[in-house]
Symmetry: C3
Subunit: 633 residues, 3 copies
C-alpha cells in the first residue's frame, strides 16, 4: 500500500469539461486519493428523498479510470437550503437565541430529529449506491464537527445526557454547586444549555455542556458509522478533526470510535513556528491514534489563518508533509484540489492555484507526489516509542475558558504547545497522553496547567511517580475536580502530596520578575510552602518558585510560574530531559525508517547515514538548508 | 454596641457537618454578625409557596448559640429556576430583545407583576418566621440592585413613571426634544424603553430611563421594607449598594429610604490607588448617610476586579477596614465567609480562603477581629465635619454616558475621583454633596464636570458663592438642564454669571498642551471670554484656561481643561485649599476618636498623640510603615 | 441665479417666537435657501391621514416674506412613532433578526408595503399643498438613504430583484458559486438576505444584496420623484447622498435619476487632510453629476466625525465652501441652521451655534454669505475638463468588504483617496469615472485596487490603452468578475494582456520593504512575471514591483504594492502625470472663473491675475496664508 496523496476534490464547483483535465493533472501530480462530496448534499439530494447521483457516478467512474481512489464523503456538514426551509427547527440557535440561517456551512442542530433522520437518509443512499464502486476507498463522515446549538432540541438532549451522567438532581446540584447564586434545580425541565444570562454563567454547567456537545456530535457520527459498517463492512469510516482553538470535541474519546484518526492542520505561525506547530499537530494525531498510523486529511499549500494569507515558502509544503508522514500519517491530503473561483473560501489556496498548473505551487505539488511514491506507507502497528509524554486534556482546556479565573491570561493551549516545542527543538521524541492513561512507559510526564483533575487521574499520576517516574507539573494544575470544584486545604489539591508542597496564594504578575538560573517569570506567581520538596529556584522575595520532590521511587517537579522557552528548557534539563538535537532539525523514527528534515536556512549535521529513498542519493551525516531525507534503518 | 464584624455566610454551599467548624472559626475570628441567605431563595422556597426553613432554622440556632447575630437576607436578587420557568415574562430582556435565562444571578424584571408578588411572598414568609429569632439583627433586602429590563412590563411601568413626571405628552415631547429626528409622541403607547434602534438614541429618553430604573428598583425595595417594618418594627432594613461603573441607582434618593446606608467596596486599583479608592467609597457612604453612621456590607480579602485577582498585601485588609470605620462604618463585613469551592465566583476570596484557616489571610482576619473589638462603634449622630464638599450626582454621570458628546473621553467618575484624591492626599477632610444640598457649611465646593444642572441647583450654587463660598468648577459643567437640553447663549449656561466668563467654543485636545504654573492640560480646551473674571492661567494661544471671579461675597474658579493631579492641586492651593497632610498618611476624626493610617512604606509623622486603643501602646506623633492607630481625643 | 446659501432649518425644534429672529439672522447672513421639514413627518401627519400643516404654512410664509426660498423635504427618513406602532412589520430587522424600534431616525424597511404607501401619502399631501407656494424651490426626498433591512419583506423583494437579474436559478447558482459549501438553491423561496449564519457568508450573495439595497432604495426615491414631477413639473427633485464609509448606494446609478446631484460632506480629517477630503468629495459629486453643476446640501461649521468634535478653524468654513463652489456646487448648505438644544445630535454644530449669533462662527457664516453673493453660480453645462480620471466603483468597494480576502488590510476607499490626494497636491485636475464610462478624453486613467471588473469594463480599459491612453493600475485590480468569481490563469485576469504581466502569487507583507526610487512598500506584494512589460522597479528579492507596458498606442503601468504618497507620486511622474501645483494651494477652473484657495499657513505663488470678485481687490500672482480669490478669465 503506497502513501495516500491528494485532497478534497469538488468537481461540482467546475463545469464538467474541466473534470478530464483534473484527472490528467492529478495523474501528473501522483494523486491517488481524493475526498469527494463533502459539500455536495444539495447536489445529490436536491429535494427530500430525490437523488441525482448521475454526476457523481461520472466523477467516480472518471477517477476510477484514472486509477484514483475516493474518500467518499457523507455531506452532513452542510445541509441543503431546502432542508433548512422545511425544518427551521433544525437550524442552529446561538446562546442569545438567534436562529441562524443557511447560506454558509455548519448550520444545523445535531440534536434535531429532522437533521438526524436526514443524515441517515443521505448516508444510506450514498452507502447503497457506492458500496461496490471500485473507487470507494474510505468513508468521510461530515467535516470538522463543531457546531454547538442552544435550541430546545439541544436542551432536551442535554437534560437526557445529564440524567445519564448524574442519575439524580441532587448529584447534579452538588456537582454544579448550584447553591452558589441560588440556582438549585428542582426539576429537570429547569435545566437549559448555558444561554445568555444576566451575569457570569456557572462554570460547571458550561463545562458539562461542552462535554455534552462533544458526545452529542459523536452520537451523530457513530450513527452514520454504524450504518456504513453495516453496508460496507470492510471500508474504513473516518471524520476529519479540526484543531482550532474553538475545538469542541474530546479527541481522546472520539479516537476510540473512528476507524482512522484524521486531522486537518492549518498552522497559525509562519516559518519555524509553523514547523513546530506541524510537529505538534502530528504528534497529537499519532497519540490520539494510540501510537499507530493515522491520516493528514487536510492541509493547505498556503497559510490561511490570521489577517494575511500567503502561499507557503518554497519547500515548506514538502517539509510539512514529511513531518506528518514521519509521525505516521498514511498520506498527505490537502484542501482542496483546485482553488475555488467563488464562495466564501475562494482565497483558500489549492493544489492547483488560481494561476493554474504553470505555477511554482503546482510544480511543488508534483514533486511532492513523486517523492511520496518512494516512501513506504506505515504498516499497521506501533510507529515508534516516545520518551516523554505531555498530558493533553480537552476538558481541562474548556475549564480554563470558564468565567472568573484568577487571571484572564492563563492559556492552556499555549502551555501545552510550549512543553512540546521545547522538547521538539531539542529532538526529544514526545507524545501526548490523557491524565488517566497508562504512563509507566515514559521517562517523564509533563503536566502543563491542568486545572481540573479527577481523583482517578490524580491517583494515576501518583502511581506514576511512586513507580519511579519523573513528573514536571506547571502552575495552575490539580486545583479542581472534574466539576471544577476547587480542592480545599491548599493548592494544588490533588497533587500536593507528590509535589511535597502546599500553595497558599496565587499572585498573578503585572510585571515579569527574574529567577536565578531560569530567567524571566511572567504572568503568574504563587506563595509556595515546602512540605517535603526542596526549592530549586526562588522568587526575588525568597519564596520557592521551582521545586523538586522525591516521592516513592520518582521525582516530581513543580514550576509555579510561566517561564519562557529557555527557562522551561533549563527545568527539563535539570530533570534529566535535555536532548541532543539541533534546533530546527527534525529526526523522527517511524518503524524501520528515519526521516530527517532541516527547517533551517543552513546546512546542518544529522545523525543519519544511508541512502535517501527519495533521491536515491547517499546521506552522510549532513543535510542542506531546507532539505529532507528518508533512510531505511 | 461593638462594631459589627463578619461577612456573607452561605452555609448552603457546604455540607451541614462544616457548619459547626464555621461557627468555631467565626468565634476565633471575633465575628459577631453574618449575612445569611442572600442567594437562598431556591433552597427556602423550592416550589411556589412551599417552604423548607428547617436548615435555616438550624443555621440561625447554631449562630445564636455562638453569639453571632444575623443580617437576614431577603433573597430576591436571585430567583429560583422554577420561578423563571413558571414566569418567563419575568425574565430580563436586553435592549436587543433577547430574553435572558436563569443560571446566573440578577435575572428578573423588577416591573414584572409575578416577580413583585413572589418577592413579597418570600419576604412575608421570612419575616414571619424569623421576626422573633434571637439571631435576627437586621434585614438585608436583595443584593446590589442593578438589572435594567426592556420588556413590555418595563415599558408599561416606564410610561406610568413618565406620566407621573411630565403630566402630559406635550411636556415630555418638549423635555425630550422629540422634534429632533421627528420622534414626536402622540400617544403614551408609543413610548418604549430605549430599545435597539437604527442610529443614535435620544439622550433625554436614555437619561429618563435610567432615572426610572432607579425609581422602579427603589419601589421594589420599599415594598419589602414596608412589609418588614410592619412585621418587625424595631429591626433595621437595608440593602447593599454596588459602587460599580454600571451603577444604576440614584444613591442620594435611595439613602432617604434605607434604615442604614450600606455599601460594597471593591477597589479596582492596587496599593496606594486602592487606599484612595477606599477613602472615596467610604466618604461617599458617609455622605449618602447624611454624615451619620453607615455600614461597610461587603469588601474582600483580595482584589477581584480587572484581569488579575490576588489576595490583598499584608496589612491591607486591616488598613482598608480602618479607613471605613474611621469614616463611620458601624462594622466591617466581607463577601464571603468561606471561599466557595464552585460556582461563578469560586475565585472570589473569602475570610477563610480555599487554603483553610492555616493561612496568612485568616490570621489577618483574626487579628482584625481582635482590633475591632477594641474600637468603639460610632454612636448615632454626626460623625465629623468636612471642610470641602465635592458635588456628586449620578444623573450627571448617566448624562455623560449619553450619545454624541463633543468628546468620547469625558469621564465623570474619573473627574470626581481626582477631586477627592487630591484632597485626600493633602489631608483635607472631604465629603460629597448633591447639587441641590445645603452648602453654606463648606469652606469650598468642588464641581467636577457636572454636565447637566437644574435651575434649582444653579440657584443653589449661586447662593453659595454669593454667601461667601469658594466654588471650583471644572470644564463641561452647567452646560445643560436636567433634560440634557443645552442652555443657550454661551457655555457654561447656568454658571456663566457666577464664573464671570462666557465660553464660546469647546476644543477637545488631540495632544496635551502646557499651562504655566499648572502643568499639562489634556483632553479638553475651551475658548473662554472673560466677563468679570480674571485669567489665572492662559493657554499657549493666549486664551484664559483657569479663571477666578469674585462674585457677591465669594469666589468662583473655573478650570477649562483637564489638569493632572498636581496641576489640580495647585488650583486648589491658589483657592486656599492646600492641606498639610503627608501623602498616603490618613488622619480622620470620628466623633471622639482619631484614626491614623500610614499607607506608605516608611515611618511617617502624624499629628496624633495618646494611647492606641488597639494595642494599648502610646502614640507619639510617628507611625511605622503600614501601621494604624486609634486614639481617643 | 445667485449661489444658494443656507442649510437645514428645523423650526419645529424651537418655540414659534424664535422664528422671526431666525429669519432676521438668515437675512443678515445672506441665506437664500433653507431645507425645511426633513424630520417633520410626525409634526405634519400626527396620525394616519390627518395633517397639521398650519405651522409649516406659517414657516413658509415667513420665509417667503423674507425672500428665502425653500428646499422642501419629503420626511420619509424618519417615520413617526405612531407609524411604527401601527406597522411593526415596517421596522428594520438586523441580520441577527433583531427588529429595531423607533426613537432614532432611519428605522424603516424600504421594502415594507406599509412604508411605501405611507411615503407616497405624505409626499402627495406635501406636494399638493405646497406646489404653488412661492417659497418652494426644490424637493428634497428623504435624507441620506442608507438602511438595509433583513426582514421577510426585504427577502421577498430581494428574490424578485434576483429573478429580474438572473432569470433562472441556474444562472444565480452559477454566479454565486453556491456549489461551494453546497448551498445550491432549488427554489427561490430558499433565498434570503445574508442573515446571521454559522460561518463565513457567500461573498456573491453579500454583494448582490448590497446592489439590491441600493436599487430598492432607489425605487423608493423614484416613486416619490415621479409623483412630485407629476404634481410640480418644473421643480427639481433631489436627495442628499451620504459619503460615509457605510454608504450603501451606487451613486453612479442614482445620479441618473435625481434632477440634481446633492451631497453631504463631513471630512474625517483636520486641517490639510480635511481640505483634501473636501476636494475629493466635491470631485466625486462633480463626476456623478456628469461634469455639470450639483449642490453641496450639507456640511458643518465644525468637525463632527471621530472621537472629538470641534469647530472648524478660522477661515476653514469659507475655504471648504469655496472648494465646493469651484467644482460646480450651485450653493453652500449646512446642517443645520441653529444648533439643536436637545436630541441625539445636539452637539452637531450649527450656523448659529449654541453660543448664539455673537460668535466667531456666526460672523464667519455672515462673511461667507457676503462673499457668495459676489460669485456667480455655475450655469448649466460642462464645468471644466479634467485631465486625469480615477476609477470609482461602489460595487468594487462592497466586494472588498466581503469575507476571506487574502489580506484584511486592503482598503478600497483609502486607495482611491490616495490617488486623488496625490493629484490634488500637485494641482492636476482630476475627476472620477466608472469602469464602463467613455474614457478617451482623459490623458490618463488611474485604477486603484479595482478587485472585481466586468468583461465590459475590461474591454473598455483595453480599448482606452489601445487608443493611446495611459493607464496606472494598482495591486488587487481586475482579479474577479462582477460576481467576485476569480478570473483563472494568473492575476490580474482581466488586465493581464494590457499590463503585459502575469501575477502568480500574492504575498501580503508583515513588514515594509524598500523599493529603489519609489520608497517604502507596505501591506502587499506580488510575484509578478513579465509578459511583455518591463520592470520599472524591483523588490529586494529581484521580482518586478512596478511595471510598464506599451500596448497598442498607449501605456499601462502596474503597481503591485502599496506605496506611500511620495512613491505613488513618483510613479505618476514617471507616467508623465507630474503637476506644477504648490501643495496645499488649489487652483480650480469653473467655466469662466478661476478659484484659488491657499490652505497653507504661508503666502504662496498662484498663477492667477485679475480682480478678486469677492473683495474687488487685484490679484497679482500671490495669495496670503489661508486666503482665497475668484477671478474671471
Amino acid at each position: 500500500m503506497p502513501l495516500w496523496y491528494g485532497g478534497d476534490y469538488n468537481p461540482e464547483q467546475w463545469p464538467e469539461e474541466v473534470w478530464a483535465e483534473d484527472v490528467a493533472l492529478m495523474r501528473r501530480a501522483g494523486v491517488n486519493l481524493v475526498t469527494v462530496g463533502v459539500f455536495s448534499w444539495s447536489r445529490l439530494e436536491p429535494s427530500e428523498g430525490r437523488y441525482t447521483f448521475g454526476w457523481l457516478d461520472r466523477v467516480l467512474d472518471l477517477l476510477a479510470a484514472g486509477g484514483i481512489r475516493v474518500d467518499l464523503a457523507i455531506p452532513t456538514a452542510s445541509p441543503p437550503p431546502w432542508f433548512s426551509l422545511a425544518h427551521p427547527d433544525a437550524l442552529t440557535v446561538t446562546r442569545d437565541g438567534v436562529r441562524l440561517t443557511h447560506g454558509s456551512r455548519d448550520t444545523y442542530c445535531v440534536s434535531a430529529p429532522a437533521y438526524r433522520e436526514a443524515s441517515l437518509r443521505i448516508t444510506r443512499a450514498l452507502g447503497e449506491r457506492y458500496r461496490d464502486h471500485p473507487a470507494t476507498a474510505m468513508w468521510h463522515v461530515h467535516n470538522e464537527y463543531g457546531t454547538p446549538c442552544h435550541c430546545d432540541h439541544a436542551a432536551a438532549a442535554f437534560r437526557a445526557w445529564l440524567r445519564e451522567r448524574y442519575g439524580g438532581l441532587d448529584a447534579l446540584n452538588d456537582a454544579w454547586t448550584t447553591a452558589f447564586w441560588g440556582q438549585h434545580y428542582s426539576d429537570w425541565a429547569q435545566i437549559t444549555p448555558p444561554r445568555a444570562t444576566q451575569y457570569l454563567p456557572n462554570p460547571a454547567q458550561a463545562l458539562d455542556f461542552r462535554r455534552f456537545v462533544s458526545d452529542e456530535m459523536l452520537a451523530h457520527f457513530t450513527e452514520q458509522r454504524d450504518l456504513l459498517r453495516e453496508l460496507t463492512p470492510g471500508v474504513s469510516v473516518t471524520t476529519n478533526y479540526v484543531l482550532a482553538g474553538w475545538a469542541c470535541v474530546d479527541h481522546w474519546k472520539w479516537s476510540r470510535e473512528v476507524d482512522l484518526v484524521a486531522i486537518d492542520d492549518y498552522p497559525s505561525g509562519r516559518g519555524m513556528a509553523a514547523a513546530g506547530q506541524t510537529a505538534f499537530a502530528a504528534d497529537l494525531a499519532r497519540s490520539w491514534a494510540g501510537g499507530r498510523p493515522w491520516l493528514l486529511m487536510e492541509q493547505a499549500t498556503g497559510y490561511v489563518l490570521g489577517p494575511r494569507k500567503a502561499p507557503k515558502e518554497p519547500g515548506e509544503i514538502a517539509r510539512h508533509s514529511l513531518q506528518h508522514v514521519a509521525r505516521g500519517s498514511k498520506g498527505v491530503m490537502f484542501f482542496q484540489w483546485r482553488a475555488s473561483r467563488g464562495g466564501a473560501e475562494q482565497w483558500h489556496p489549492g493544489m492547483v492555484p488560481h494561476t493554474g498548473p504553470d505555477s511554482r505551487v503546482f510544480r511543488e505539488v508534483c514533486a511532492l507526489g513523486e517523492a511520496l511514491e518512494r516512501i513506504p506507507a506505515p504498516v499497521d502497528g506501533p510507529l515508534a516509542e516516545a520518551e516523554v509524554a505531555i498530558l493533553w486534556d480537552e476538558e481541562a482546556w474548556w475549564a480554563v475558558q470558564g468565567p472568573g479565573l484568577p487571571s484572564t491570561e492563563i492559556d492552556y493551549l499555549a502551555a501545552v504547545e510550549q512543553a512540546h516545542r521545547v522538547l521538539w527543538r531539542q529532538g526529544v521524541p514526545a507524545c501526548f497522553a490523557h491524565p488517566s492513561h497508562d504512563l509507566p512507559a515514559y521517562r517523564a510526564v509533563l503536566v502543563p496547567s491542568l486545572y481540573p483533575i479527577s481523583d482517578e487521574a490524580a491517583r494515576n499520576l501518583t502511581a506514576y511517580v511512586e513507580g519511579g517516574g519523573t513528573l514536571v507539573v506547571s502552575f495552575f494544575s490539580g486545583i479542581a475536580d472534574e466539576h471544577t470544584r476547587i480542592r480545599p486545604g491548599g493548592y494544588p489539591g490533588a497533587l500536593r502530596e507528590i509535589l511535597g508542597i502546599r500553595v497558599e496564594e496565587f499572585h498573578p504578575l503585572d510585571e515579569p520578575v527574574e529567577l536565578p538560573e531560569f530567567g524571566q517569570a511572567t504572568m503568574w506567581s504563587e506563595i509556595v510552602h515546602l512540605d517535603g520538596a526542596e526549592a530549586v529556584a526562588r522568587y526575588p522575595g525568597g519564596g520557592p518558585a521551582v521545586t523538586r520532590h522525591r516521592h516513592g521511587g520518582g521525582t516530581a517537579w513543580y514550576v509555579s510560574t510561566r517561564l519562557d522557552d529557555s527557562g522551561y528548557a533549563r527545568v527539563l534539563a535539570r530533570a534529566g530531559l535535555a536532548g541532543s538535537g539541533v534546533p530546527g532539525v527534525e529526526v523522527v523514527r517511524r518503524q524501520d525508517l528515519v526521516f530527517a528534515v532541516n527547517h533551517t536556512e543552513d546546512e546542518q549535521p544529522v545523525p543519519v547515514h544511508g541512502t535517501d529513498l527519495i533521491t536515491g542519493r547517499p546521506v552522510g551525516g549532513r543535510l542542506g538548508p531546507g532539505r529532507y531525507v528518508v533512510v531505511r534503518l
